[in-house]
Point group: C2
Chain length 133, copies 2
Amino acid sequence: MKATLDHIGIAVSDMGDALAFYRDALGLEIQAPEDVESQRVRAYFVPVGQAALELLEATASDSPIAKYVARRGPGLHHITLRVDDIAAALAQLSARGVRLIDESPRPGAHGSLVAFIHPASAHGVLVELKQTV
Amino acid sequence: MKATLDHIGIAVSDMGDALAFYRDALGLEIQAPEDVESQRVRAYFVPVGQAALELLEATASDSPIAKYVARRGPGLHHITLRVDDIAAALAQLSARGVRLIDESPRPGAHGSLVAFIHPASAHGVLVELKQTV
């Protein structure tokens, strides 16, 4: 299939410290944050060409990002690949024995559809698929 | 400064297992591997739009990738941002107190210049800067 890198999710434990690097030291543009209630995270997008960095801060202690940071510390969390037809992509992966976290697409930001692949089937990397509208 | 995502470095412990996912299940194009002697790694680039995934396999037990995999397992390892003037970027970062692994640029693949920023100054992320020629 054809896949384009959409963004890299970065788990952050202290957004002030992260912004001191990306905004103040590197001088990159930081977009207005967006809350993703279902994941209990606040996301700051940082455009870097066609792709973006997504700085992710937990907004509740049971957020997946809070659990990740508690276990591994802040750092690279996931990559998101944009595909034309997410349902077809998930069917293809299932047929090849890939373990999916989301068996069917669920709503993401801005009307997109998203699904996560289990890192056990992606050699240790958490991969998100995304279809935009 | 202006920065464009060049690639994401992914530490691999078993290239066959990684290729089974990226090449066979996802169906992505994998470029011919390239050995980077100075880092004792073999790198497979996987284009995903303007950016690429860089699958990194250690070629010696003292490779930084071998050490990383032994400590944390396979997974996301670093991000590489392309800048127009790497010397100016490093000077700007130094002036703002950012800790650098490479104080001055060193030769990378295809005549590029590269330098790593210490994760302690980048909120836990290993960031490489790259200037192409």
